[in-house]
């Protein structure tokens, strides 16, 4: 590469008028050729820009873990089940509190019959008390006729 051409390209370069091919020519020249003293000050520019292109992203790309996504799904299912069980339970309990007229009638009848049974048993107890008196009479009779 003739020097005059390089000097011409340099002028265009600093005016922002070179294309990518021109810039490659300049880069190749300053990175590889023996650069004369009066152009030496440009050398670090091209070396520096080339060095900057060598820099690498050293970390791993950090995305949300797939396990976390699975866990989230699992949580959604758990919440859905919980809500469902509340709904089912709620419906069940609310229905058990609401009695049909027939059921109410049956319940009332049950209460009545329970009362009747209670009365019966009380009277029966009175009867047995009286029976003890009869027993006393028979023991007294035994004493007399011994």
């Amino acid at each position: 590469m003739e020097l005059a051409k390089i000097e011409q390209l340099l002028v265009a370069y600093f005016e922002g008028e070179t294309n990518l091919q021109d810039e490659k020519t300049l880069r190749d020249y300053f990175l590889n050729e023996n650069v004369p003293t009066h152009l030496l000050q440009y050398k670090p520019i091209f070396i520096g820009l080339e060095a900057a292109r060598k820099e690498r992203f050293q970390k791993e790309i950090d995305l949300p873990k797939p396990e976390t996504a699975a866990f989230t799904n699992w949580k959604y299912i758990a919440v859905a089940l919980l809500v469902l069980s509340f709904l089912v339970g709620g419906v069940y309990f609310s229905q058990s509190n609401k009695l049909t007229p027939e059921e109410k009638e049956a319940l009332a009848a049950f209460e009545e019959s329970k009362k009747a049974m209670l009365l019966l048993s009380q009277n029966l107890n009175k009867g047995t008390e009286r029976l003890t008196l009869v027993n006393q009479f028979s023991t007294a009779k035994n004493k007399v006729f011994e």
Binding site: F14, Q41, K43, I45, I61
Partner: protein, 168 residues
Amino acid sequence: MNQVEFLEIVSPFKDKLYRLAKRILISTDEAEDAVQEVYLKLWKAKANIKSYSNVEAFAMTMTKNFCLDRLKSKQASNLKLVHTNFPTSGNIERNLEANEGVAMVLKILEDLPEQQRIVIQLRDVEQLEFSEIAKILDSNETAIRVALSRARKTVRNLMIKKYNYGIS
């Protein structure tokens, strides 16, 4: 789309995103965080990813916007960007070695205005066409050439100044 398919699409340009983020934010840590954020956003929008004509250009634009926002919020909250990437070299040796020159160029790049930093990154580091840069930056080629010329000239002038100082 599962993570493997997603990574196949988006991994090839992770270094480019990182270099752009670092050019804007300068700090390595901040740049890494920015890239992670951009990928997280892309992952959340993965349903649309195939409808984008150019995922890479889209990701570059996202990165640029994200980093500029970060920079703005830092400046608004008066926080200074802290980075320990480069040892600050106070005195320059009289005989300028290539490595020192390179470190100086990179330091000069850090001090350019943001827009010029982005343009010189996309053109002189990533070697993209002006049409591609215009698309990423939502700008026009003329404006990009102007910003690029300014950036290159600033680097050149500062290098000449330091170089002449170094050898005189």
